[in-house]
Symmetry: C2
Subunit: 256 residues, 2 copies
């Protein structure tokens, strides 16, 4: 039983990549094998798992536009049971290249269908946009996990994103649901974080995960060593909160 979760929010810098890497690693310790698909031309998830930029590396871009099978592009990571479908900067051209293909929104969904039997969870890290790349991820996914930084601009965009998800569910992917809204970079010293948390809980109720991710500099340090937090500093608050999130996600999906 494989579940594909898109990690998406058009607001930039809210913790999408940090969540993809660290939720992925935590899930791998509980329920492997797990796949992360880096679907952002910035390729931050690829770099954050220790893969240096390499123009010769074949990526999800080749899986979309060449005869290569996505299965052949999947690579191991430094984490036991965690696999990666890497990205690279050519993906930035995908939006215009996809626009000309028939059934363009379904391209990723079609191409990753064979992968679904091999992995318990597939996480798709999305770029900060609502373009054709992100749309492809939302059509390929069973659910969406929405990281929201505990700040004003991030809060502003949530209801618009949920509107977009409803539209996509109606027109392209009837099974699409909300995995949950995840509070990130929560700083209990500031009123702002508490205010945003209260607003989100009031508006979106139990769609907000019980688990929240505190602001923790170790999470920002880990990617420069090419490691998820579970390898870099497994006892810090950041690592504990992503482990707790993984358990909540597994519980949520077992209840169906």
């Amino acid at each position: 039983m494989s579940i594909t979760i898109a990690i998406a929010n058009q607001k930039g810098g809210v913790g999408k990549t940090t969540t993809a890497i660290n939720l992925g690693a935590a899930l791998a310790s509980l329920n492997s094998p797990i796949l992360i698909i880096d679907f952002d031309p910035q390729a931050n998830a690829t770099a954050g798992l220790g893969f240096a930029k390499d123009p010769l590396r074949r990526s999800v871009y080749h899986g979309l536009f060449s005869e290569a099978q996505m299965e052949d592009l999947v690579t191991k990571t430094p984490v036991e049971g965690l696999f990666l479908l890497p990205s690279e900067k050519n993906l930035v051209g995908a939006t215009l290249e996809l626009a000309e293909k028939p059934g363009r929104e379904q391209t990723l969904a079609r191409k990753i269908a064979p992968l679904r039997d091999r992995f318990n969870f597939i996480l798709i890290d999305c770029p900060p946009s609502l373009d054709l790349l992100t749309l492809n991820a939302l059509v390929a996914a069973d659910s969406v996990l929405v990281p929201v930084q505990c700040e004003y601009f991030a809060l502003e965009g949530v209801s618009e994103l949920l509107d977009t998800l409803i539209r996509i569910r109606r027109s392209h992917n009837s099974r699409l649901s909300v995995e949950g809204i995840l509070l990130t970079m929560y700083d209990e010293r500031t009123n702002l974080s508490q205010q945003v948390r209260d607003d989100l809980r009031d508006f979106f109720g139990d769609q907000v995960f019980d688990t929240f991710i505190p602001r923790n500099v170790r999470l920002a340090e880990a990617p420069s060593y090419g490691k998820p937090i579970s390898l870099y500093d497994p006892l810090c608050r950041g690592a504990q909160s992503y482990l707790q999130l993984a358990k909540e996600v597994i519980r949520h999906d077992q209840e169906g």
Copy 2:
């Protein structure tokens, strides 16, 4: 003598909008009139200056695609001498609509040409992408201000962005230069910030502004009150650093 500066970085959440609003307000106190163009479909600069979402408000989208003149779409803000060309979510469709127009990269440059004589500085807040919207802003601009958060993923994307600027300068806009690289959310308590600052200064030398913006929660609070920091808390470190940045930008442009 009017200078148009694009505030751009494809990395999300690095402080583009916060810089557009607060550098704009600081410049307005020294050298008004100043115009901010909100060129992001998220319309964060519009919200951060106190304009609630309003589907009937005419925006930069109408200036691009209808007969409306950009001059007629400019509106006053709560700050003396600071004006705004607002955005709204229809702009998200602009990338595909622009793709079909001849001379598509020059559309914004052509449409804002009449505004250049009316304002001493024009700041363009860009979305987190290197798509046709951002390309339009880079073609319309005299220079680019690149905010870089003092963290690993933000550092990763800077050289790629500078490569893109060189390409644009060669093919679309020969006058495009780098206004400067701005360190944002600098937290002197962490090694990470100091490491990123040192890396940037080593790699990019005097292209890095002397002024840096410290992490200061007042900057994150101000937009929820619809005010720039100069009205919300003019004595805080965030306000002081943006005033200092404005002076550095004016000095840099007077030296030519």
